[in-house]
Amino acid sequence: MGNRTALIFAFVLLWAFTSSVEGQTTRVASDKKVITKFESDAERIHVQRETLRSRVPKISVDATPAEIETNKRSLLEAMALARKDAKMGELFTSDAKKLIRKIIQTELKGWKRDELRKTVLQETRGVVLNVNSVYPPSRELVEMSPSLLLALPQLPRSMRYRFAGQYLAILDRDTGIVIDFMKNALA
């Protein structure tokens, strides 16, 4: 009787363990799928952007302020035109949003979350975002949490994650164009 109870107990334990591992594996695999899609969509936008960049006046590594301004304006105009039909959700699909909120909640806990919330709300109050508009050039950009950047899906060099108020946005690095954004990122 004792042996039978022990056997049943061991079986239940084994079942619970394998179910849990299976659950995790499924979740990780589905996350990977979402991340792969997100990263490949971002790469597609980056390639399009680099094509546009190759067509605007070149900029050297010892440029004058006027050359910098011209280059930025040309790229901005080209991107805004090419992306005139871009809509919210191009990168932040509902699956991506769900996953990213989960990553933020996991990575930003305790003082990290408090530190970021305080800074973001303090420094970006009143910033309004729209896809394909430009992040206000006179407003500062809040530094991104390094540990969160390590956990989020990776972006190409030309794009940046940025928090603004309750939003998480993806901006073009050199023009400040809003590629996409999601709400309630720090909720």
Binding site: I68, E123, E140, S147, L150, Q154
Partner: protein, 293 residues
């Protein structure tokens, strides 16, 4: 006779007025006085941050920087970010950087910039910031290697670059500079703890000696943390008066009542520093020995 006496009296008044006016100027800007050794062949530079307002305070401090260069011929300046506040059109580069520092630029002083939270990444192309088109980069001066990092966006690529470059470098001195302070006693911002959790292990492992940062608009020298000396030198154009927390256990010395910059000289295994306020007074000075690897 009365007219003659009045003339004499008037002359005395005018003359004494001129004297007191000279006296007042002297009180505001005393002659530069150095505590640094000014050794032959040493590495001499200036560190400053949060400069880019284009306002009168920045201009006044720039004049003091210029006057100190006459007695301490520093070769280059490191800018720890917020090089331009509130917009970056071509005229902003002139107003917020070129005009105030024109005498230094004309004298051949090189500026090496890092990006702050108010700076656009396009500054990396600006010829006078010597960033060579990169948001993070390194340069060597004598026995010292300087790493300019982008603390706005410390991503996987940059973290790998830091580890790779610092691991390869065999220089006596390893000096990092960037905008956000891993340690700070500021009431407004305080320490960037998340950044610290990523950078500090890299710095400790790779023998970084000194770190210069800004973001906080005051001067602070932190007590050495895991063998590394951290400075906050972010009062180059703006001041957040009284922002350093009283009795912070991390503070070795702080100054938050006026703008300031740092003069630095490396002589073999010793770094000498002297901090100068807008009035030209010395508000901190000392030496740091480089870490034994």
């Amino acid at each position: 006779m009365k007219r003659f006496a009045a003339l004499i009296l008037l002359s005395v008044v005018v003359f004494s007025g001129q004297l007191s006016s000279v006296g007042a100027q002297t009180a505001v800007a005393p002659a530069p006085s150095l505590t640094l050794p000014k050794a032959e062949g040493s590495i001499k530079f200036l560190a400053i941050g949060d400069t880019g307002t284009g306002g009168p305070l920045q201009a006044e401090l720039a004049k003091v920087m210029e006057s100190y260069r006459k007695v301490f011929p520093y070769e280059f300046v490191i800018l720890v970010g917020d090089n331009m506040y509130g917009g970056e059109k071509a005229e902003d580069f002139k107003k917020k950087f070129e005009d105030p520092y024109r005498p230094l630029l004309d004298a051949g002083v090189k500026f090496y910039a890092t990006l702050g939270n108010h700076d656009e990444s396009n500054q990396r192309f600006y010829e006078l910031f010597n960033m060579n088109g990169e948001e993070y980069y390194r340069f060597k001066k004598g026995d010292a290697v300087f790493y300019s990092l982008n603390s706005n966006y410390m991503d996987k690529r940059q973290i790998k670059w830091i580890g790779d470059e610092m691991g390869k470098d065999k220089a006596d001195w390893k000096i990092a500079f960037f905008h956000h302070p891993p340690y700070s006693s500021g009431g407004r911002h305080g320490s960037s703890g998340d950044l610290r959790s990523i950078l500090e292990p890299l710095f400790v492992q790779n023998g970084v000696d000194v770190v210069f940062t800004g973001h906080e608009h005051f001067y602070e020298r932190l007590k050495p943390q895991k063998g590394i000396t951290y400075f906050v030198t972010g009062a180059g154009g703006k001041l957040r008066a009284g922002d350093v927390k009283d009795n912070s256990p991390m503070t070795a010395k702080a100054f938050d009542t006026d703008l300031s910059f740092m003069l630095v000289e490396i002589v073999k295994d010793t770094m000498h520093f002297q901090v100068i306020s807008r009035s030209g007074a010395t508000v901190d000075s000392g030496t740091i020995r480089h870490r034994d690897d």
